[in-house]
């Protein structure tokens, strides 16, 4: 695992409190009124859901050092669990379904995290694919999960919490934003506690962690559990706030890779990285296709444009990994540092010997 040389997450709140508040105010108070439906429904809501999923995976992979290629499975578990809670337990508030769905995803995550007790690296990574295929198969195979819909498709009920309706693009966005902000705060809290330290210890030196008494079994399973909890909640947002109709096929391996891309590109073991990476993955292809279409549509066929985009995205991923293997967040920090150094007098550097 790459080890970041700066602990971005732990600095999250202190130096950037101001910037963060500005961002939150903008997200809650300005965007809902200023953003177009397209921006809210097709860009921001999926961005939020994916960012939360990436945050979940980052806890597991970035912080605790356990690679998972099966994230989409937990998205699916979250979505289908929330659907069934909502369907079968009448009167259960939607928020309760959401949390319960997170717990179901966590339970599934813990089961599929069991191999991590014996396996490392790519052996573990590939074995997490079992979750990917098994969950998809189960949801397709057993009609009960989709209320016997012949196509395995589930439809979201209208979003409402405590009598307040969150249907409509703005409502769905605000709902997602609130869930993501709360989940992120909890995640930060977790990372700053002893559990968070245990995760990092596990990642950086498993033997040393064991020797000093980190409960490996519990810590690993907890990492899988918390991670899949967050991904499961993200799945609820994905299914209920964003697409509103999902089928098991939508939670395929490509989606898992997409989430993995987000954390690698954004920056492992960085909460801001998860958001940055998600923004990149959601927005960049859109921009690329819009610009491509605008500039070259008359010259090239749309198929050619699409394939060129695929090449560009692939090349960009490689280029980014070469330029900054620690992800976009490291790039951003570097630039920010430079600016700060320009603006302020150089401070006495850290002690070197």
């Amino acid at each position: 695992m790459t080890t970041p040389t700066r602990s971005a997450s732990l600095r999250w709140l202190t130096p950037n409190r101001f910037g963060l508040s500005v961002l939150l105010i903008a997200a809650f108070a300005i965007i809902p009124f200023a953003g177009s439906d397209y921006l809210l429904d097709a860009v921001l809501t999926p961005f939020l859901a994916l960012a939360l999923a990436a945050l979940g995976l980052n806890l597991l992979t970035g912080y605790a050092g356990q690679v998972s290629l099966g994230s989409a499975a937990y998205l699916a578990v979250g979505a289908y669990a929330a659907y069934n809670f909502n369907l079968r337990l009448h009167g259960l508030p939607f928020l309760a379904s959401l949390v319960a769905a997170g717990f179901v995803a966590a339970a599934v995550g813990i089961v599929f995290g069991l191999p991590s007790l014996r396996l490392r690296g790519f052996y573990l990574a590939v074995s997490t694919l079992a979750a990917q295929f098994f969950v998809q198969w189960t949801l397709t195979k057993f009609g009960w999960f989709s209320n016997n819909n012949p196509s395995g498709v589930i439809d979201a009920p209208p979003l409402a919490v405590a009598g307040l309706s969150f249907s409509g693009p703005v409502g769905r966005y605000v709902f997602s934003l609130t869930v993501v902000v709360v989940a992120t705060l909890l995640a930060i809290r977790l990372l700053r506690s002893q559990v968070g330290r245990n995760f990092i210890a596990l990642r950086d030196h498993e033997v040393a962690a064991k020797v000093i008494g980190v409960p490996l079994l519990r810590t690993k399973l907890l990492a899988f559990g918390v991670s899949s909890f967050l991904i499961g909640v993200a799945g609820v947002l994905w299914a209920f706030a964003y697409l509103r109709t999902v089928e098991p096929a939508g939670f395929n391996l490509d989606r898992s890779f997409e989430i993995l891309f987000i954390i690698i590109i954004g920056g492992l073991a960085s909460i801001r990285g998860a958001f940055l990476g998600a923004a990149f993955i959601v927005v960049f292809p859109l921009l690329l296709s819009r610009f491509g279409a605008a500039l070259l549509d008359n010259v090239f066929d749309s198929g050619v444009l699409e394939m060129s985009q695929r090449i560009v995205i692939g090349a960009l991923i490689i280029g980014l990994l070469i330029a900054e293997p620690r992800g976009l967040i490291a790039l951003v920090d570097r630039v920010a540092d430079k600016i700060r150094r320009r603006l302020f007098r150089p401070q006495p550097g850290p002690i070197r010997s």
Binding site: D37, Y38, D41, A42, P46, W137, T140, S146, N147, N149, P150, S151, G152, V153, D155, Y242, L243, R244, T245, V246, E247, P248, A249, G250, D254, L286, S289, R290, F291, A293, A294, L295, D297, N298, V299, F300, D301, S302, G303, V304, L305, E306, M307, R310
Partner: protein
């Protein structure tokens, strides 16, 4: 591959792509196209959307539009992925003069049902989509035109019956349905069971896990079961592999009957000789001999505006499906114009056009499509329109029609569809429409 098309004016495309609002042009009817030209299903996407665009071009070039109303469109690539389809929907839905959506993807169609119902724009899912959306009382804006999955099932069984010499000869026969391990594949399981009970044939339904590039075990089971017929309810790469593996275990290929997603050139060409003799259902014949195709070749491709890069694909199954889809969309607009005037119509007005889309064989012939497809008869509560099916056999180079136009057993399917639609209505608090509720909202 590098094809220079100047279908849209640069200014228009650029302006829309950047998101600037445009004033409505003279009279235009707009088709947002959630096409897929990349990814695993690109072959189907290029054929279908190619045919659709070719037909729209034909109408523009030959007739100057539909009664003077120009047809325009814009493509958004989806790669057959649902969220990309949704993104394209959100992006293009505010374009002026949207006529109808034609995603050719079950997943995208499902994700759009709520949205288009709210926005009151028709959603066309020709030959696929949600079976119970046939019930126009519950799904006012969804049109699974020509053939829904249940009708397809019935059509296939009826065809097997004609080959055996009547439905009474089905008794005691063994039919295996080999289906793709996806919701699409599983959708018809209860219907085959229903028909098996009704006609007394014995039935075994075997799943092939996605993507279906390995079918050794399934075909060995089929051989052991001594099946008389295998119905192939396949998808993508599963189809050629099925045909190859059938050959490998010695199952006679002419007793494999493909469904509507296993009936294209792309499904058989990779199987090579193993596909020779394979039979598949279709709602539209393939081949370029029909007048409408000849006109497209002459007018559209002659003017260098053809959409297919590979001219050999003109008249292929997906291309012809795209053309038929074009005919149905254009005729729905034409019918709606008779009611509302020769101008840009709203989505809801076009919906009314679709609900009166009745093309008898004579009208189909007048459209230059005699033999290409049979007829359609959409009403306010029957959104499928009783499409007939025919069966085609692959001779190694092309499909040859080997049956008459066969009618599925609609009457026995309708109650199941209504039941399912009623459940959907209950789950979603939808008021079931009556014939009085069909008026266009203002």
């Amino acid at each position: 591959m590098l094809l220079s098309r100047s279908l849209r004016t640069a200014a228009l495309a650029a302006a829309i792509a950047i998101g600037a609002a445009l004033p409505v042009h003279a009279d235009e009817q707009f088709f947002p196209l959630q096409s897929y030209r990349v990814g695993p299903y690109a072959a189907g996407g290029t054929g279908f959307f190619g045919g659709f665009i070719d037909y729209l071009n034909l109408i523009n070039i030959r007739d100057g539009g539909v009664n003077g109303v120009k047809l325009t469109w814009e493509e958004g690539e989806t790669q057959y992925e649902v969220e990309r389809g949704v993104e394209v929907y959100e992006r293009l839905k505010n374009h002026p003069g949207v006529a109808a959506w034609n995603p050719l993807s079950v997943g995208i169609a499902y994700a759009m049902i709520d949205r288009i119902t709210k926005d009151k724009v028709p959603l066309i899912t020709i030959n696929h989509g949600r079976t119970d959306s046939t019930d126009g009382r519950v799904f006012p804006y969804v049109f699974p035109l020509l053939l829904n999955p249940y009708s397809e099932t019935s059509g296939i069984v009826n065809y097997i019956a004609t080959r055996e010499g009547g439905t009474n000869k089905l008794k005691g026969k063994k039919i295996v349905v080999l289906y793709h391990g996806s919701p699409y594949g599983k959708e018809t399981i209860p219907i085959y069971q229903l028909l098996a009970d009704k006609y007394g044939f014995s039935l075994e339904q075997i799943e092939v896990p996605h993507p279906g590039n390995e079918q050794q075990s399934q075909w060995l089971s089929i051989r052991r079961a001594k099946a008389d017929y295998v119905v192939l309810r396949g998808w993508g790469v599963m189809n050629p592999v099925a045909l190859k593996t059938a050959q490998k275990v010695g199952f006679p290929v002419d007793h494999i009957i493909g469904n509507v997603w296993s009936n294209s050139e792309e499904d058989v060409i990779p199987a090579g000789d193993a596909a020779k003799g394979y039979v598949a259902i279709t709602t539209q014949a393939s081949g370029a001999e029909y007048p409408v195709l000849q006109e497209i070749i002459k007018t559209v491709y002659g003017a260098g505006k053809g959409n297919l890069d590979d001219k050999k694909r003109i008249g292929s199954v997906y291309h012809n499906l795209g053309i038929v889809n074009g005919i149905l969309n254009v005729e729905a607009i034409r019918i709606a114009q008779q009611k509302f005037g020769k101008r840009t119509l709203t989505g809801d007005e076009v919906r009314l056009g679709f609900e009166h889309l009745q093309l008898d064989p004579a009208r189909v012939e007048a459209l230059g499509a005699k033999g290409l497809f049979h007829s359609i008869n959409v009403t306010w509560d029957n959104h499928e329109g009783d499409g007939r099916v025919t069966f085609q056999q692959w001779d190694g180079t092309k499909w040859k029609v080997v049956s008459d136009w066969i009618a599925p057993d609609w009457a026995s399917l309708r109650p199941i569809i209504e039941k399912s639609a009623a459940a959907y209505a209950a789950e979603h608090n939808i008021k079931i429409r009556t014939s009085d509720d069909t008026a266009v909202s203002q």
